[in-house]
């Protein structure tokens, strides 16, 4: 983990309020793994408003070019300020944060389920696994066609993918979780990686309940320091004895066994 000020190579619009920012950073490309994130100071230099840094998953790493990227949705002030940055500007961030995913490479089949912007960390996971010649099925669920832009990235990998939209305007019509529910017996030997809104993760918990499925969720929580110092990003995790203990998403996560997470 290092504090960095690096050059933006591209801040491309991927959809309505959706951007992919490419950042030149040999350090991140050398040191970051799938599932990790960075935390960006979105306010200008010497200005503390908005106050806190914003966490973003690492979307892609292109080692050969020393470039990594984040995919982000404009939600509030911080992401709005990010969207204004241009090629050649610098971005102040710290990373890589959190733990890289420890893949179980004994398995051959992997199912990735992303909802909305939750697809962000799953893309790098897809790349890592397909480069290891693993069989990857990427299921993505969106409200509408706004995320269509990511298909060109998915096409670059050897993953199979299925896109669902709630309004049917793109890909298959319906909910990604309904597809999983209907087909769960087909995939119960797969390793699952899931990221998305709380309602989606809760629905998956229900689907997986009582089944011997190994599933990892990459979760979000409001953060202050991002480095494990403030205990702000706590999330309830059920331990083996059924007790709920608080873990830090930034330092102990952001990936957890989905069945152990308490989503409030």
């Amino acid at each position: 983990m290092k504090l960095l000020k690096e050059e933006i190579l591209n801040n491309e619009k991927y959809g309505e309020n959706l951007y992919k920012m490419e950042i030149f950073s040999p350090y991140i490309c050398r040191n970051a793994g799938a599932g990790q994130f960075i935390s960006v100071k979105c306010s200008r230099e010497k200005i503390f408003d908005p106050m806190l840094r914003r966490p973003f998953s690492i979307y892609d790493i292109e080692k050969e070019f020393n470039v990594f990227s984040i995919l982000y949705l404009v939600k509030g002030r911080g992401t709005y300020l990010l969207s204004l940055l241009k090629k050649g500007d610098t971005v102040d961030f710290i990373g890589p944060l959190g733990n890289p995913i420890a893949f179980n490479m004994n398995s051959n089949d992997y199912l990735l389920i992303g909802g909305g912007i939750g697809i962000a960390p799953l893309y790098l996971i897809t790349k890592v696994l397909t480069s290891e010649k693993k069989n990857v099925l990427f299921i993505a669920g969106f409200k509408n066609s706004n995320f269509a832009g990511i298909e060109k990235d998915l096409l670059k990998t050897k993953a199979y993918y299925k896109i669902f939209t709630e309004d049917g305007s793109y890909g298959n019509s319906g909910l990604a979780t309904d597809f999983i529910k209907e087909n769960i017996n087909k995939y119960n030997k797969y390793q699952f990686y899931c990221c998305g809104p709380v309602d989606m993760l809760k629905a998956l918990q229900e689907i997986f309940l009582g089944k011997k499925i190994s599933a990892t969720a990459i979760v979000e929580q409001r953060m202050a320091c991002g480095i494990g110092a403030c205990m702000g990003c706590a999330i309830g995790i059920k331990n083996e004895d059924g007790e709920i203990i608080y873990k830090r998403v930034c330092k102990d996560g952001p990936s957890f066994n989905i069945m152990e997470v308490i989503f409030d």
């Binding site: 983990m1 504090l3 100071k41 010497k46 503390f48 408003d49 908005p50 106050m51 806190l52 840094r53 710290i94 929580q221 409001r222 953060m223 202050a224 320091c225 991002g226 480095i227 494990g228 110092a229 403030c230 205990m231 702000g232 990003c233 706590a234 999330i235 309830g236 203990i245 608080y246 409030d264």
Partner: protein, 316 residues
């Protein structure tokens, strides 16, 4: 100026000597380990540990953080591993970093403070001071109660001083009103305290109108950051005018300019909290900024600006 032509930055708060007036606030710097990735934290005046209680504490239900205009609401609920774990697991690591340590303590009863003091008595490592967090607004039965009752402030201070040979700092809340704050500071002095830390967070909350629920799992939280700086500065000024005890002033300090404002208003040292979450090296930057400011004004000693704008008499 000193030999190196740099202004003197060392300050005294009663028996507490600091190599410079820049202190890290409790709960915002953990035990320094995370921050030692970025710089040599032994350069700081001191670091204040997170507040420790006798037994480990789980803390409050998430979410615990909500950002506000120029500030942050938190409801951590004093999550900590307990004093024994501090002594056995954390302290040896902090010792390796050579930082000067202020150990923050928190209890739910006068008796717990006494037992904490007994536990701290066993510590062999040199501790600069203990800070009694008598002001945390987050915990149900916690801090708020203690420092809104000046006689209890005195009682706790006495009971800790009876056991410990280490200087005691009492941390006060801005939530009690000035009369009680001043009275508590006086009682802390009667009880044998060496200094006052001021201010802890202001009680606040926020609402999610879309889902019709509070933003914080605990509903109420503590507000910190630049939003509270004018209030913190006024509290420091008010208490400084009373000339009771030396003070560590804190609340919203993000830059060296902020720090100088607190010193001028009567703080003998300043604490940095929330800014650590954003600018990980802010402590070092502020030390340098204060030093450069003094140099630019041809002032050879930081003590010459302390309380310049209040009726403070430098307490030796």
């Amino acid at each position: 100026m000193t030999e190196s032509n740099k202004p003197n930055l060392s300050v005294r708060l009663g028996e507490i000597n600091l190599k410079n007036p820049i202190v890290m606030c409790s709960g915002t710097f953990a035990n320094g380990l995370e921050y030692s990735n970025f710089y040599d934290i032994s350069e700081l005046g001191a670091i204040t540990t997170k507040s420790y209680s006798l037994k480990c504490k789980d803390g409050n239900k998430p979410p615990r953080i909500w950002e506000t205009a120029c500030g942050v609401l938190n409801s951590i609920g004093l999550q900590n591993d307990g004093i024994e774990s501090f002594i056995n697991d954390h302290l040896p690591k902090i010792k390796d970093m050579n930082a000067d340590i202020i150990l923050s303590l928190f209890g739910e009863s006068c008796e717990e403070f006494r037992e904490l003091a007994l536990a701290v008595k066993k510590i062999k490592t040199n501790i600069l001071a203990v800070e009694l967090n008598l002001s945390c607004p987050n915990v149900e039965k916690g801090g708020m109660i203690f420092c809104s009752m000046p006689e209890v402030v005195e009682k706790i201070t006495i009971s800790v001083k009876e056991i410990l040979n280490i200087p005691v700092i009492v941390k006060l809340s801005p939530n009690t009103g000035d009369t009680i704050m001043i009275e508590s500071a006086k009682r802390a002095k009667n009880g044998g305290a060496e200094a006052i830390s001021l201010i802890n967070t202001l009680v606040g909350t926020a609402v999610d109108i879309e889902n019709i629920k509070p933003r914080l799992g605990n509903v109420l939280g503590g507000l910190s950051g630049p939003a509270i700086k004018p209030i913190a500065l006024a509290k420091v000024y008010t208490l400084s005018n009373e000339n009771i005890l030396p003070m560590i002033g804190m609340g919203g300090i993000c830059t060296w300019n902020d720090a100088v404002e607190f010193l001028l208003m009567g703080a003998n040292a300043i604490g940095i909290g929330t800014a650590n979450f954003v600018e990980y090296c802010v402590g070092l930057k502020i030390i340098k900024g204060v030093s450069d400011y003094l140099e630019s004004k041809d002032i050879d000693d930081v003590n010459k600006i302390i309380g310049k704008l209040s009726n403070k008499q430098i307490i030796k």
